[in-house]
Subunit: 715 residues, 2 copies
């Protein structure tokens, strides 16, 4: 993508001499930002603009063109792109609007353009975007007003309005960017390609992004997980609530995946997710100038009680800890402060604290082996020489190899001090909570980066057997696999179930029950009855042959009465769970953007009422599976409370991994649920299973539905 | 307190001619803020300061003095206060530090001062405070640098450092205040007296406060609940986490109550609680210039998709709703926008929106009967005449009787527009989420204000019987009432328990069991064994006389073996719960600051593992009790899931109200727990009860321990 971001020549198609027109602003921005390469304005009227010769047509340009910025009316874009391809352009930014966002005809046009670009290996930004800015190369190929400063943070955004607001905000706050990219409709270049490119961009230390949907979830995760290991990716995804998703889809026509899937994707890919725009930049500030902390232990230095308490509160809500200082630190703090000053954590240097006192405290606490990062709070008093204090803190911070953050209370007369901190690379915040939240994010990212590498295991399974069951069901036009069909897939995937067999008559059921051992469960077996409880089709705890025989007739009769058209295969006779077994639910649903989303929770009310569920995307590593189990609030119930035996942890994760494998093997399975899985201290038995299957159309992708297919059906 | 806030004469004790000294800053601030009354500087050196005659001693002042500001060294404060009393001063602000916050001797001195002030009915602010500012009267009796503008918001703060930061921030943002008060150590005037005063202050429309602890929780709630009905109180309380509470107590020596108690108090008193300082002012802005919305339905108007989605997301996370507009509104929106613009909620006026389009949309949506409040998002574009748009929005907003908020994306060149909004009383925010959160707070406050008045019922109970049991236990030196003692109190308070009686032998147990009806429960009965499970002292589901006899001997033998010194009274024989009964836990704990804190939750793992508990402070109204039950996450389990019968709601609230009454009747009960209470569809039986009792010292207050007593013990 270097031809896009560092082109040696740029054509501006639709250049204009009329101030206020996009084709004029672009040219002005390119010139005023100091672009050093060749510029070729194109406009059928010819003449000159801003001292540059205007080409009457693209074909007239007799030099190689790396990048073309297109700002012509929508209906002229395709033609322009064709002409640009003929002169060998390598990348284009389409600023013109009126595509996918305005409905079907725009969408069709956009599709033609993106296909043409892709066929000719052209990097295409937009359409319907503001363009981009590469500060270090002096390129402002956007119609935003104003060029931000140079910095080490890259920002990309799907929303043009947010680009404008962010540039405004950055100019007002002196914040700089390495690259600034408006993605627009993302018809070729999207968040995945941006992350891949910025991951290799030496000028970018931190990647920020705002998106409303993710174009190709699987590829996005693959790129992000690689880049996250090198540099932090901080992103905001909107459309997270039902209301927001509705607004998002009516805005860009983009289908938003579920928020659980997006959360799982960000988590698994090490992306730091924020839910406020403000926070995006507060975190960027922290990540871009400080090293990651090596542990959770935060030392707080303050000269006022209130802000110290606020910082401690914020710490208590975070994953950071606030240990006592080591004894030797306390021993050295004691003589430098009055007896009533708190010398524990936070240490209160008192209102009269001067530069020397801050210096001593920072060095002591910064070198304390029990402390991993330091927050210095300054509450300016009239007597304080704020500049001197800021210089001292900055100097001391540079001598310490741990992250040091500053919170400067109050904005008045503090600009000089803030500049001192900024120049020294000490992130400075207005309020303690902002500082602590930034430090917390850095610590969490450090944990993610330092985590053990993921282990992916491919379990033994009989793929062909499962395939045969699914294909045969699809051939007979079924969209549901009920228990007595699904359990063969469960078995093919190496998962144990309670001993069970299909009985076709009451006598057969009684014989089977005797063989399996009492007590047993009887369950209706019918491909036409996916929800057995609808027909009262599950009888538990049957203790005698007589009871079993009786139950068989009652169950099948009731099912026949309630579902007269259903084919009733008989009843499944199954061993009862052992008394100490706990019920868990393991399932997956195919997310439109990210593919199979696995879910885990305790059975019954824990999932249904308390929504105590953990989510991860397939393929599941061994570590992901273990995290899923530990992450639910009710995990203690599996570990065993009040002397109960712990559930078989490995058996649970094994079910998770095998289900993940099943989900990846068969795009035909749209969703599946093992409910309940009965877990005791030494096994996990899949006691019931249910799957929804779909016939794959030849062209459809594994990740499920996609918008193009949908729209083309309408055509 | 008018003598404090609108004094006709002020003495400054410790006035100084030396610039930078507090005694000089105070005088300068008083003069420069334009104080019109008489000023009497006092300093033993005499002379003049700032053109004013300096009195050599307090006794020399030959005019009546309303207020004295004391800025002398700590050890001279008591003497000065004595002298001031002699000349009839009515209120004082003690700026001097060195009291409670520096330890025991400072604390003793502070106690003398506050007692002297209280004896002489003097309103004393501080000590260890910055003073106060009353903008409308032109009084800046503080040593803060700078006087904020006049406004309708009052602010008080326990932390001086936050006062300084807030003044700074307010000056930078053009925010005004009616009163601005630094409470310091709160030895006489505290948050309760401030709320009472500000509740009656016609210049104050919104009350903001920051506190680290609440001095007298019961009085605080009583004042706040009255004032909340008239004007909003928005408060931040720090020290909410364990880490923060530790920092708070080491800072001011203030004991912080539990955060659950504080949350319950704020909720019951209608106080809007925030957890970020920024939010305090963002909310104040909303409350001070807009009416409360009459319902949850928010209409969003935007000219850019991204910010609209962000607003919709924020709405989805709030208690607000985003309904579709009415059909007639949609019909009128349609012709004014291109076909591809979203005309649902949020309505997208598109990038080219001008003042006229905004005006039409605001009027349409503002008059839509389905909509209760309107958020207008403006994302400035180069072509937009922002000033005209702002003026139009402000004018349209004034024609609509519903609250209208604005979100203006980006700060650059927007100052003029922001001023237009501010002057028109339209709250303006930088980001959609901030605006929606403010609107959400207003809606929640409107619900609180409009709620049905609380009904307090005093249940019938046998106070004397309960009193006798408690007194007798205290006389015999016990601090625990175990089940077989506590159940008599339960009965005295009119609460049903399962039929049960004490058996002293196995035969007696068997006879009792026969009378009660099988199955029964046997429980160890010993005043020395508060936790029966420690000795395996509860046997459930005993079905025959033989089993009961056998259980009796095993239980008592095991108890004797494990607790050889315990007095074993025998076993309690109790009816088993009915099969469909659900276990709930109802209890209370006496909070140091707020008195009895009642808790409610489902038994077992719901309380212990999932911490699914609701809290309220006694006395409990009927409505509070109902809210407590509905508020837990697992409430659905009581309502009945999967066809289960609903639990007897009234019976549960009856137990809650009777426990609340018990807590208020007997300050001797430090904590109590009914666990389990067995609830079926027609009753709630207290199956086990446990109470911790304490002997009340003659002087101790109902709300439990207090710091003064503690410290005096050390003396």
């Amino acid at each position: 993508m270097d031809s896009l971001f560092t082109p040696s020549s740029i054509a501006v198609v639709g250049a204009s001499a009329v101030s206020g027109k996009i084709g004029n602003t672009i040219l002005t921005n390119l010139q005023s930002a100091g672009y050093k390469g060749e510029l070729f304005p194109v406009n059928s009227r010819g003449g000159t603009i801003g001292g540059l010769k205007v080409y009457k047509s693209i074909s007239e340009i007799d030099h190689p063109v790396d990048l073309a910025v297109i700002a012509v009316p929508r209906d002229a874009v395709l033609c322009a792109l064709n002409d640009l391809i003929k002169i060998g352009v390598r990348s284009v930014a389409v600023l013109s609007a009126g595509f996918r966002e305005v409905g079907r005809d725009g969408w069709l046009l956009e599709k033609q353009i993106s296909e043409l670009a892709e066929k000719n290996s052209i990097y295409l930004l937009g359409p319907n975007c503001l363009g981009f800015i590469n500060t270090s190369a002096g390129i402002n190929a956007s119609f935003a007003s104003g060029t931000p400063l140079t910095g080490t943070t890259a920002f990309f955004s799907q929303s043009g309005a947010l680009c404008v607001a962010v540039i405004d905000w950055a100019l007002a706050n002196g914040v700089g960017f390495s690259k600034f990219v408006s993605l627009g409709n993302k018809s070729v270049i999207n968040e995945s390609s941006m992350i891949e490119y910025l991951g290799n961009d030496p000028e970018t230390k931190v990647i920020l992004g705002y998106v409303e949907n993710i174009t190709d979830g699987r590829n996005f995760m693959a790129q992000a997980v690689k880049v996250s290991m090198k540099k932090p990716i901080i992103m905001m995804k909107s459309g997270t609530t039902a209301a927001g998703a509705r607004a998002a889809s009516s805005h860009t026509g983009a289908i938003s995946g579920s928020d659980q899937a997006c959360d799982a994707a960000f988590h698994q890919a090490g992306i730091i997710r924020v839910d406020r725009l403000e926070e995006l930049f507060k975190l960027a500030n922290a990540f871009s100038c400080q090293e990651l902390p090596l542990g959770p232990n935060l030392g707080i230095i303050t000269n006022a009680g209130g802000p110290g308490i606020l910082a401690a509160d914020a710490c208590g809500e975070s994953s950071l800890r606030m240990p006592s200082f080591s004894l030797s630190t306390i021993a050295e703090l004691q003589p430098m402060l009055p007896g009533y000053a708190s010398i524990y954590n936070p240490v209160d240097l008192l209102r009269e604290a001067d530069a020397a006192r801050y210096c001593k405290a920072i060095k002591l606490i910064g070198l304390d082996p029990l402390i991993n990062s330091v927050l210095v709070i300054v509450s300016p008093s009239d007597k304080m020489n704020l500049t001197e204090v800021a210089e001292t803190i900055a100097a001391c911070a540079s001598e310490i190899s741990k992250p040091v953050f500053c919170c400067l209370m109050g904005r008045k007369n503090s600009e000089a001090a803030r500049s001192i901190f900024s120049e020294a690379g000490v992130p400075v915040y207005d309020f303690p909570k902002q500082a602590v939240r930034a430090m917390d994010s850095m610590y969490k990212y450090a944990i993610w980066k330092g985590r053990a590498s993921r282990t992916f295991e491919t379990p033994d399974r009989d793929y062909d057997a499962a395939k045969e069951i699914i294909d045969s069901a699809l051939r007979s036009g079924r969209s549901e696999l009920v228990e007595f069909q699904a359990r063969d897939i469960v078995t093919a995937y190496g998962l144990p179930s309670p001993d069970s067999d299909l009985a076709r008559s009451g006598d057969e059921a009684a014989t089977l029950a005797k063989r399996l051992g009492f007590p047993v469960v009887l369950k209706i077996a019918s491909p036409d009855i996916p929800y057995k409880s609808d027909v009262n089709g599950v009888w538990l705890n049957l203790n005698t042959e007589e009871e079993v025989r009786n139950a068989f007739w009652k169950i099948t009769a009731e099912a026949q009465r309630l579902k007269p058209d259903a084919y009733i295969a008989g009843c499944l006779v199954q061993q009862m769970a052992s008394k100490d077994a706990r019920e868990i639910i393991i399932g997956f649903r195919r997310d439109d953007q990210f593919g199979p989303l696995l879910m885990f929770g305790l059975g019954g009310v824990y999932v249904e009422v308390l929504k105590d569920i953990s989510y991860r995307l397939a393929p599941l590593s061994v570590e992901d599976a273990a995290e899923m189990v530990r992450e639910i609030r009710s995990y203690m119930l599996l570990k065993g409370v009040r002397g109960g035996e712990p559930a078989d942890f490995d058996a649970i994760t094994d079910v998770l991994i095998r289900m993940s494998c099943l989900a990846d093997d068969f795009p035909e399975i749209y969703e599946a649920e093992f409910n309940p899985v009965l877990v005791s201290s030494d096994e996990a038995l899949v006691a019931d299973a249910h799957m929804t299957i779909v016939k794959l159309s030849s062209g459809s992708k594994e990740s499920g539905l996609n918008i193009d297919d949908d729209l083309s059906k309408e055509a």
